[in-house]
Amino acid sequence: MLLIRCPWCGDRDEVEFRYGGQADVDYPADPERLDDTAWGNYLFVRANPLGTLTERWVHTAGCRRWFSVVRDTATNEMSPDIPSRRESR
């Protein structure tokens, strides 16, 4: 049960969150201009590193905000992302 720091609500248990995979994958500005390979990569290919991964979580049972954190996929050690480029408004 990971302890995840929601930037808004504070430390909460993993069960309150949903995982969103790699962070900062932009929706292509003009999808129609991408070839099938590039679009396929956008749809399906995500980073899968052994080590640090900047990833997204959403606090589904709490404030429902998306945010990113950096986690080591080998140890699960987590640190909040600095600064949060997106997912804020």
Binding site: V15, G21, D36, G40, F44, N48, L50, T73, A74
Partner: protein, 407 residues
């Protein structure tokens, strides 16, 4: 131990522990079930015996050591049914062929349906199975109770069992013994197993791979087959090949040894658990992956709590069995819950990965087609649909219905 003989093995001998040669015709990365089966069929079907299987840890110590050993072939889609049933037919002969008792038991597999939509989906799968020549029956709750009396089929349940598909030919096999049986035969045919040998990258020349870099030095290779499960994309990343793989922890658990109570395999997507009793007597239980990516071979405890709640709901008799041990593997999951088996942009590099939560059952079948792909340079008809280009064209083989729960 000299890498000398491929004569028949001493009694009890499973494998030699040779020093790696400087190069091999074929290098297989990963001595899991798939790597072993690939080496076996390379030798048996294609006469390719100058093969090394490189393993970063101990032989078959990855997911092969951790899976809940469920074998079945009642998949929905044609390519899946063909591939998994090919595997099941091989299982039916493998123990004899390898002359090794690995407790392959066709005790039957029940896939439960708990909602009307699950009933539709399950029957759709059963109908498809029939037309594909895969044994499948649709059972009512009363019939289920006959197959598995300890299962609570009463309407009392929060999500009562409305029916189940039943594959009598499905069952379990003792995973470790399967690996040793394959390893022994490979070893006898001259295949080298190099353990504690982690592949860290490749040497290339143009669009060919010429060898692998390992923790024990560079080893030349005429062809390379990747069968590294959860760590596959780490290797392809080094070549700039992006695979749609995500590696997740998948947990399982066992109880103490108990007298036989559980006659078959039971799987439930809806309440998310699957159970069987191993030949030794322990109950073996599993469920779905942990949500996040991870290589730690451990997961979160709420996943286990949820699946044990489901298990005790379905099997009230399990309440006082004891949780003895929990563990986890690292499974590589694809977007369509089907594997990737085939060529890569490098002409002599092949991948077999993405088996996610359910590749044990495919072990011989996957080895068969992957060996064919490596030996001939072209996919076997059975793995033709499983190339990585499907994620570009959109020709996915979406087995989420059949594979949503790990198994």
């Amino acid at each position: 131990m000299a890498a000398d003989s491929n004569t028949s093995h001493e009694p009890g001998r499973l494998w030699r522990n040779p020093e790696p040669k400087s190069s091999y015709d074929v290098v297989i990365v990963g001595a899991g079930g798939h790597g072993l089966a690939t080496a076996y069929y390379l030798a048996r079907n294609h006469g390719v015996t100058d093969v090394a299987v490189l393993e970063r840890g101990w032989l078959a110590g990855g997911n092969m050591a951790r899976n809940t050993t469920i074998i079945r072939s009642n998949y929905l889609l044609d390519p899946s049914a063909a591939l998994y049933d090919h595997a099941l037919r091989l299982w039916e002969e493998l123990a004899e062929e390898l002359d090794y008792e690995f407790h392959f038991s066709q005790c039957g597999v029940l896939n439960l349906a708990h909602t009307e939509q699950e009933v539709r989906d399950a029957r759709r799968r059963a109908f498809a199975n029939e037309l594909n020549g895969v044994d499948a029956e649709w059972l009512t709750p009363e019939e289920i109770a006959e197959v598995c009396p300890i299962l609570d089929t009463s309407p009392r349940l929060r999500y009562p069992v409305l029916g189940a598909t039943y594959q009598p030919r499905g069952g379990v096999a003792k995973h470790d013994l399967v690996a040793w049986a394959l390893a022994r035969e490979c070893d006898a045919m001259g295949v080298d197993f190099i353990q504690n040998c982690e592949v860290t990258g490749f040497t290339t020349s143009g669009d060919r791979v010429t060898g692998v870099r390992t923790s024990r030095g560079t080893i030349g290779a005429g062809g390379v087959g990747l069968a590294a499960a959860g760590r596959t994309s780490l290797l392809t990343d080094t070549l700039g090949i992006s695979l749609p793989l995500q590696s997740h922890p998948l947990q399982a658990m066992a109880t103490e040894i108990l007298e036989p109570v559980h006659p078959c395999v039971v799987m439930s997507n809806h309440v998310h658990v699957y159970t069987s009793q191993a030949h030794k007597g322990e109950l073996v239980l599993g469920a779905g992956i942990d949500a996040y990516n991870g290589y730690a071979q451990r997961g979160s405890v709420h996943v286990i709590e949820n699946q044990l709640a489901a298990a005790v709901e379905l099997f009230p008799i399990f309440g006082r069995a004891h949780l003895l041990r929990t563990w986890a593997g690292t499974v590589d999951v694809t977007p369509d819950a089907s594997p990737i088996i085939g060529p890569t942009p490098y002409e002599n590099l092949y991948v077999n990965c993405g088996w996610g939560t359910g590749g044990f059952k495919a072990t011989p079948g996957a080895g068969w087609v992957f060996a064919h792909t490596i030996a001939t340079g072209a996919p076997h008809p059975l793995n033709e649909p499983y190339g990585m280009e499907r994620f570009t064209t959109g020709a996915l083989i979406d087995e989420h219905g059949a594979a949503a729960v790990a198994h």
